[in-house]
Amino acid sequence: MTRITGGLIDRSQTLNFTFDGKRYAGHPGDTLASALLANGVRLMGRSFKYHRPRGVVAAGSEEPNALVTVGSGARATPNTRATVVELFDGLQATSQNRWPSLAVDALGVNDLLSPFFAAGFYYKTFMWPKSFWEKLYEPIIRRAAGLGKLPMQADPDAYDKGYLHCDLLVIGGGAAGLAAALTAARAGAQVVLADEDFRLGGRLLAESHALDDAPPTDWLAGVTAELRSLPNLRILTRTTVFGAYDHGIYGAVEHVSDHLAEPGGRVRQTLWRITAKRSLLAAGAIERHIPFANNDRPGVMLAGAMRAYANRWAVTPQARDGDRVAIFANNDDGHRTALDLMARGVPIFGVIDPREDAPRLGECQLFAGGQVTGTQGRLGLSSIRIAHQGRNDWYECAALGVSGGWNPNLHLAAHHRGRPVWDDALQAFVPGPDGPPGLCAIGAAAGQGTTAAALASGAKGAQDALRDLGIAASLPDLPVAEDHSAPPAPIWHVPGPGRAWVDFQNDVTVKDIALAHRENMRSVEHMKRWTTLGMATDQGKTANVTALAVMAELTGQSIPQTGTTVFRPPYTPVAISALSGGDPGTHFKPTRLTPTHHWAAERGAVFIESGQWMRAQYYPRPGETHWRQSVDREAQAVRAGVGICDVTTLGKIDVQGGDAAAFLDRLYANTMSTLKVGRVRYGLMLREDGFVYDDGTCARLAQDHFVVTTTTANAGLVYRNMEFARQGLWPDLDVQIISTTDAWAQIAVAGPKSRALLERVVDDADLSNEAFPFMACDTLTVCGGLRARLFRISFSGELAYELAVPARYGAALMDRLMAKGADLGVVPYGLEALNVLRIEKGHCTAAEVNGQTTAQMLGLGRMVSQKKDALGVVLSRREGLVGERRALVGLMPADPATPLVGGAHLFTAGAAQKTETDQGWITSVCYSPHLNSHIGLGFLENGADRLGEEITAANPLAGTDVTVRVVSPHFLDPEGGRLRD
């Protein structure tokens, strides 16, 4: 155990957990990393490329090394940073990217072969022989790559999403963030304070220096209590603000129950979309290391992290009690780690500081002007080599804290691609002026790194932000705090032989950067892409600036001339489940049900998705073993007697107003204004580019009142277009529109006996052919006073009607029609029979009106009136559209029993089959029980002139050719006598 005294852990409780199957114990307040360290476990992972043994480097979300898989089964979560996993009882963690074990990893051989794996090596080899890439090289590379293993099972946890709106979002709950939140919340502003940690305080939790002569936890307790009492402030702990988007919108993920052994009905994570009028980035700073030879062994960590582990978690990175610890720092802050550890009884044998004038800040050996030039220890640090005053000696050392200074954590400030600016005094990049509008950095994120400066800049930042919003805020009394600012010396790496890691996880060393330089991959983006620097799971948080400095040294340019770091969302990796709201299952998109859905379900209907709708596909009867039997029966029943079908899904738009008719004349290619009241007309709508957009009917209920129908698929789009035309093109027309699709249950009643059936349900209406002819419509009552609309329109080619009643009566109407029509042989029919009936009549649906077809192709060219200005008419006259020779035809196989398939291509009989000879395709197919033949519709080159010709329908995917005869698309009753009787 390397647990020491103090810390913010609850020793009264023990939490048991396992790592690679071995049992350990920790306490509430621990992270997985701190608990492992407390148990003397330093080896936590393997690096990506060389499989080098690795231990924890950091104490926060920037950790590049200590990645583990947490949980098991479908809940296994790979690549989880041990530094941010809050310990809970029963936690199972497993190491990754090693075989057979973490300590003995076969692919550790990669490390020995590392000279062959220099930056960019794979671009230069693995090309011979050609077939070996996919058969040999790539499979090996793929297996070796990757880190953790995804279970690839549906995520069983629940997630949710929420929306917050506030005056001020404070990102980070350290000294600066707390001061800001306090200032703003006291002023009455709506504030959201988000922090990724499970405890507010940020760096204050990790430091020992006093606030107002008391431990920082005292001040934290007071401020936290006050903040929690304020109703206008929402505190989100365990919440990472991961992205800054446009107009003050931030994405954040709250880890609601990741830290619980048993979620107990809670969601695992919540995605918050926070809309903030102003925001303050108080994300602190991230310490950088100093690359030197073999600087990546377990036991080497950032000095600030080492201090955090000691102060907050009461652990040290020693392998065992009494092991010696050293510090390598180019700045005063690094020395603090030595002081804090010594104060807690940890032996510090020395501080190595490359500054010749390094101050002596504590009672331990100071190697001023010294550098660490090497390390030893196979699975953990055992000794370091120190170059000092001309000597280069090995010293026993089990843990080394490294500090190369601090980089403001400006990630979010760069999400709008704004460039950070170099601050020479700080030797660091700070947020530039072109960050996300409304966002301002405070505290260490702005380079205000001392506690006093952070507190002050937080309070001031909040005051300024609120002033912009017209809210006056007064500055709170802030505690007296340390204010020692000492920028690092510009020492970026220790030159020398051996590999010095810059990017730990991706195994990018100083030599790789030098190679990138040699190969002219010098621009920062080329360097990054050539070496993979900064592309690991930490996005280079601990590596990028150092790499820039190394490249700058090689090119002789300054660091800002060399480039800047650009960050993209997310700040830290975010679970896909959180962003999606979890596994949507069948709720991926809304489901719309027809008014007769449950009625149909009770009758055993089989349903099929039709856009968002579920529609009855067919109604199988006992004894029917194949869907075709049901469909044939339904279709035949319609043509022989009467069938009923719910067609509610067609869009219905109510169009009213003094100029309604003129409006529809401009929307439809044909003329609507001449339609008489009480009549219906088929309408063809073009897109402005001249292609067919939609078709439907317009029923004129009154001089100034139409009901327009659209196809099911286009209902929303046609409505949108109508609003555009009404508001944007012809705002002076007196037209009002509203959708009524859902309000009415619309039932098709089709077949020669449909009139007989309807006469039994209407109240006092004359449905005779004379009184209510084909294309008539009226409002009336049915079933004893129920409001209804009746349209005599036909999709099947039979005598047919569509009857609309308020949706709540749809199911009852079906029942009534079935009861009243029993002796007429009435059947309910589904989408498949509807399809058969319409194909037999050559009516088009989405398969034919697919956005690529013209009115002329559909045989509807004459409907496009050239006498008026309607949408699409002008551009339908373009050469390419007018010259289109393909036309809708009917197709019958020479052998009626041979099925046709949609998507087959059409060729002149005997022609070679290739792109150049392609003459069209089949759009729709069915079996026609009335023709006793499979039939199809399709578009065929010069189709209208080829009736009777035998051609080939080729389906090369299945290797089949079918000889088909070209016929009229109106297979049945081409004169339309039946629907007019």
Binding site: A158, D160, K161, G162, Y163, L164, H165, V256, G264, G265, R266, V267, R273, T275, H587, K589, P590, T591, R592, L593, T594, P595, H597, H598, W599, Q612, W613, D654, Q656, G657, G658, D659, H705, D732, D734, Q736, I738, S739, T740, T741, D742, A743, W744, A745, T781, V782, C783, G784, G785, L786, R787, P806, A807, R808, Y809, G810, A811, A812, L813, R816
Partner: protein
Amino acid sequence: MTDLIPTTAFGTTTARTATHGALSMAEDVTTALASVALRRGADVPVPLGLPLPGPGGWAGADGAMAVCMGPDQWLILGADGAGGDFAADIAAAAPDCSVTEQTDGWVILDIRSKDDADGAPMAELLTRLVNLDPATLAPGRATRSQTGHLGIIALRLAPDRLLLLGLRSAAESLWQHLDGTLRRLAVPR
């Protein structure tokens, strides 16, 4: 009067309800709906004595309410009117307007927060349902928006009461979304 038996938006004969923690919701099957749109040059009517509210508002009381749906367009809610011809009544009361029957176009869900006059559970619910500044749906306000990929009309009738109108055909999806949200909120964090 027809002898046909109506069904609810969920295909049943009785209204659906649910309670999770402090929040409950119930389908309203009796309120009638009609839309009113101004014709060119028409004066704004006062149907059933209702002053038609401006954008983002609703007006009226439990008997009849009007909510603004868009420029020059309102939806009128008539309590217990679903059995009659509400659109005809409204048309008579708004002669220079385009009136359209909407009663069965929507499912109406009445969401209430129990035992909590300040509406804190309701406010928390709103953070999960709609991406709107709370002021947009403060008591007395109404708006169209979306929740769970579904368009809605929302009326904040009181601090503890929210009326949601969604497409009738998507009632089941809306219910699933709301029921899940209420259920999750009932679990303390």
